[in-house]
């Protein structure tokens, strides 16, 4: 049986339906990431689980117990907020021990738990400081520490890395992954950054407009997106979308059944640039981004589409050069006119 | 419970304020249409708009209205103009700026009665007052301010008290001025006057409006300064609407007429208030 279960969750703010019926099961110890564009309802969904909002319809079960109408303080969940929400008038130690103090835990036990968490997070030297005196990364760690100390049933993270600079974000991401591996705690993590989702998650939940678009492991989403939205949301640079009408020739040549009025989705690595005349169609190089380990080449086709190709080898091509485009049909994705995955062959 | 609690918490403040507003208003309206003189408690009864007629046709009414407008208008002009100048003057850091600001703001915290007496006696006394001494030093005849220029004396006193307020608002507002914008304008070749015209004044625009509105509301009911200095006199020379109502109510004991006048003052203040509320409301949306 699932550890945490959402059944038909709905939430309306005034006239606006933010969550339109979400069902989800989370297994114990699992790291689940909610991802989606801003306004998709991922944060609201997390806040519903946290008990900071009350669901308009549906039930939330934790360990089989209905917690839909339980106040947050009774749910035994811990949350790391986007702004960290540290108590500015308390020291780091007091911040981390606050929940245990409220729960009237034994002071010796509190001491032990806090110092253990502080050791894990490298906060030992800062315990007596106030949040004001810490750097952004340290505050972030205190916020995580505050959650760890409680050993809650579920960890909730609400875009915890969005206030950090790029270098620190990468580093903290790795730390969170390591932490999860060590503690094995059930975690729900909200982000709009699909890289975070891909790197951290056991399973990713892609949300759009208050509905679940797809649930799956990161690679499942990458390799078998359920629809055009997921396909384009996951992966950088975005998957190329070519209107099927432009690829009729390709269809007849390779025997692929290209959906009428639909789209063909091509990962950048499925677009292969060759000498002019040797590919399926011709294109002109617009821009070359040499990143060292990989090279991104932006080309435009005669019929006006923009495509991006990714290759691991370096290229002598420069802007304005004419190239042929070959397509790795084995990794192409096919979508019908409504953006759903079309059955192929 | 999620909805009940917030309401419960607001209820005491809202309830008391509602009573504070509605009870006097309703009573004023009631008193204003009856015969109600505290000295003649036996004469009562509905008299329609007679009190209003009496209040408005009273020759003092025109004088008081003019005085009110003159007082409010002059003080606003004086405080806004000088407040802006002082704020601009003290905007950039200089040695002792904090002390200067403290000196500048102090008069605002002086209670109106002290303020009025300080000016009445020690500044404006025609024989011993500081101003008289200065006049004599330069060989002029000292002026008997409160007798010869009663309204302007009151205006001076009130302006002295409200100038710090305007200055403080403008100083605060200038602090939020975008420094990069000023630097950009310097790169564009703007001199100080052009900066003043195109950057500072537009930036202060909102504060000008706020100062005008707030001062209007407070100055419409200037009372203590008049009460302690001129007592509204000589004659009606320095009587404003607020003081006229006071005279009707507590000197002539005619609560009916006073209430009619009060309603007039409420209408006057609310005209200014509507604009202020609009402006603040816009600010809330941000």
């Amino acid at each position: 049986m699932a550890y945490l279960q959402l059944r038909g969750i709905e939430k309306t703010f005034g006239e606006q339906r933010v969550i339109k019926g979400v069902n989800l099961e989370v297994q114990p110890g699992e790291f689940v990431v909610f991802v989606g564009p801003s306004g998709c309802g991922k944060s609201t969904l997390l806040r519903l689980i946290a008990g900071l909002e009350t669901a308009t319809a549906g039930t939330i079960l934790l360990e089989g117990r209905d917690i839909t109408n339980l106040p947050s303080s009774k749910r035994d969940l811990a949350m790391v907020f986007q702004s960290y929400a540290l108590y500015p008038h308390m020291s780091v130690y007091e911040n981390m021990s606050f929940a245990l103090k409220l729960a009237k835990a034994d002071p010796a036990l509190i001491e032990e738990k806090v110092s253990r968490a502080a050791k894990i997070l490298n906060l030992n030297d800062y315990l007596m400081r106030t949040p004001k005196e810490l750097s952004g990364g340290q505050r972030q760690r205190v916020a995580i520490g505050r959650a760890i100390v409680r050993a809650p049933k579920v960890f909730l993270f609400d875009e915890p890395l969005s206030n950090l600079d790029a270098a620190l974000r990468g580093q903290t991401r790795i730390e969170i992954a390591k932490l999860h591996r060590d503690l094995g705690a059930t975690t729900i993590y909200v982000t709009h950054d699909q890289v975070e989702a891909m790197t951290l998650a056991d399973r990713v939940v892609v949300l759009r407009d208050g509905l679940v678009e797809q649930v799956g492991t990161p690679l499942e989403l990458y390799d078998r997106p359920a629809n055009q939205f997921v396909a384009q949301f996951i992966g950088t640079p975005q998957m190329n979308m070519v209107a099927a009408a432009n690829l009729k020739a390709l269809g007849s040549k390779s025997g692929l059944k290209i959906p009428e009025g639909g789209y063909v989705g091509l990962r950048p690595e499925s677009v292969i640039l060759v000498a002019p005349g040797e590919g399926e169609f011709e294109a002109k190089v617009e821009l070359v981004e040499a990143l060292g380990a990989e090279t991104l080449i932006y080309v435009s086709t005669a019929w006006g589409a923009q495509l991006v190709a990714r290759q691991t080898s370096r290229t002598p091509l420069t802007a304005g050069a004419n190239v042929g485009v070959k397509i790795d049909t084995s990794t192409a994705h096919f979508f019908d006119a409504k953006g759903r995955v079309a059955a192929v062959n | 419970m999620k909805r009940l609690l917030p309401r419960l918490l607001m209820a005491p403040a809202i309830g008391t304020l509602f009573l504070w507003m509605i009870v006097p208003l309703v009573m004023s309206i009631y008193f204003s249409v009856i015969r109600y003189n505290l000295m003649q408690p036996d004469q009562v009864g509905f008299i329609g708009l007679e009190n209003f007629e009496y209040f408005i046709t009273d020759p003092s009414f025109m004088t008081a209205t003019m005085n009110t407008l003159l007082l409010v208008g002059s003080v606003i002009v004086i405080t806004v103009v000088f407040g802006t100048l002082i704020a601009l003057l003290t905007d950039d850091p200089f040695p002792g700026r904090n002390i200067v600001r403290i000196l500048l703001i102090s008069p605002f915290f002086v209670m109106p009665t002290v303020n009025a007496l300080l000016w009445k006696h020690m500044m404006m006394n025609p024989i011993y007052g500081v101003l008289a001494q200065v006049w004599m030093f330069f060989g002029f005849t000292p002026v008997d301010w409160l007798t010869d220029w009663p309204l302007w004396s009151v205006i001076l006193i009130v302006s002295w008290q409200w100038l710090p307020f305007a200055t403080l608002i403008f100083v605060t507002s200038l602090q939020s001025m975008d420094r990069e914008q000023l630097e950009a304008s310097r790169m564009d070749g703007a001199n100080y006057l052009q900066q003043l015209r195109y950057l500072y004044i537009p930036h202060l625009g909102r504060s000008f409006a706020v100062v005008v509105m707030i001062e209007m509301i407070f100055l419409l009911s200037v009372f203590a300064e008049i009460y302690t200095t001129t007592g509204g006199g000589p004659g009606d020379a320095s009587t404003n609407i607020a003081f006229l109502i006071f005279k009707q109510a507590l000197l002539n004991f005619d609560a009916g007429v006073a209430s009619a006048g009060a309603l007039f003052a409420v209408v006057l203040a609310n005209i200014a208030g509507v604009f202020l509320i609009r402006m603040v409301g816009k600010n809330l949306d941000k």
């Binding site: 900071l52 947050s72 303080s73 969940l77 907020f81 929400a85 108590y87 500015p88 008038h89 606050f98 929940a99 409220l102 729960a103 409680r150 | 609690l5 918490l9 607001m10 005491p12 008391t16 304020l17 504070w20 006097p24 208003l25 004023s28 008193f31 002792g96 200067v100 600001r101 000196l103 008069p107 209670m111 109106p112 009665t113 002290v114 007496l117 300080l118 000016w119 020690m122 500044m123 500081v130 001494q133 507002s173 504060s207 706020v210 707030i214 509301i217 009372f223 009460y227 109502i245 507590l250 609560a255 209430s259 309603l263 003052a265 409420v266 203040a269 208030g273 202020l276 509320i277 809330l284």
Partner: protein, 276 residues
């Protein structure tokens, strides 16, 4: 002159000018303070004395007049009581509006502001009649109530605009940490809002202390505040400026100092947050 020298000259000029303006505007107040330490004869000396041997006799005389103590006591009691009462009413209201923002929150705030538009004189007769009817005329209770109510909108606004700047996530974090409503209030909200409570209270204290309109009209010998005592010096008979100055000095000194500390809040409170 080089540009650097011009800049320096401008700065010197501005400094001198700023100081001159400040001293000029402060002069009446400074004069009051000086006069408070003069003898009555020195106070009306021609030409005015700038240098003299200061004396404390005025303060002793003013203090010995027992009614001064009574007025001071009245002022202290009414302003402190109205401040506490006001905070007790305003705090929950502002908390509710800032953290449980509803559809009508803005309307309520606007309406509160609008009650401030009602000029005091408009309510004079009704309030006087009510106070007389229930026997509260010339009592500290009446003044306290009136001061509280006339300051309440400003207090709610000041607290509200301060509370709004506290991230709601901090309160949510405490709820996640298992705090009850009371614990949330006592251990998180109260420590965080102490500063704004203090400055709001301070400003309110200043207003009540200085209030003259209601004090003059609702009180007499029994419950008069310092504002009314000072006003009674307005009669021209007898030139006792030194004593008047001493009394005034004692009446305004604490409040002016308070005022210096609450300048910033004053701007927020008086402009209802429209100027930042």
């Amino acid at each position: 002159m080089t540009q650097l020298q011009i800049n320096l000259a401008m700065k010197v000029l501005r400094t001198i000018l700023s100081w001159a303006v400040a001293l000029f505007l402060f002069f009446p107040l400074g004069w009051l303070v000086l006069t408070a330490f003069k003898t009555e004869l020195q106070a009306i000396a021609v030409p005015p004395l700038l240098i003299f041997t200061p004396t404390l006799e005025n303060f002793t005389i003013v203090q010995e007049r027992s009614d001064y103590m009574l007025y001071a006591q009245n002022a202290l009691i009414t302003s402190i009581a109205s401040t506490i009462l006001g905070l007790m009413l305003a705090f929950p209201a502002a908390y509710s509006m800032a953290f449980f923002k509803g559809k009508h929150t803005k309307d309520i705030l606007m309406w509160m502001l609008s009650t401030k538009m009602m000029p005091a004189v408009g309510a004079l007769v009704p309030i006087y009649v009510i106070a007389q009817t229930v026997g509260l005329l010339d009592t500290r209770t009446a003044l306290t109530i009136v001061f509280t109510l006339s300051n309440l909108p400003i207090m709610v606004w000041m607290l509200y605009s301060n509370f709004k700047d506290i991230p709601g996530e901090i309160l949510e974090a405490s709820r996640m940490d298992g705090a009850t409503l009371w614990q949330e209030f006592r251990m998180v909200l109260l420590p965080l809002t102490m500063g704004s409570l203090a400055s709001t209270g301070l400003l309110c204290l200043v207003f009540s202390w200085n209030e003259a309109f209601w004090a003059l009209n609702l009180s007499a010998a029994k419950s008069g505040t310092l504002a009314t005592l000072i006003a009674s010096y307005s009669s021209p008979e007898g030139l006792f400026w030194a004593k008047l100055s001493a009394a005034s000095f004692m009446a305004i000194a604490p409040i002016v100092v308070f005022g210096w500390f609450s300048q910033k809040q004053l701007v927020q409170g008086l402009t209802f947050g429209a100027v930042k």
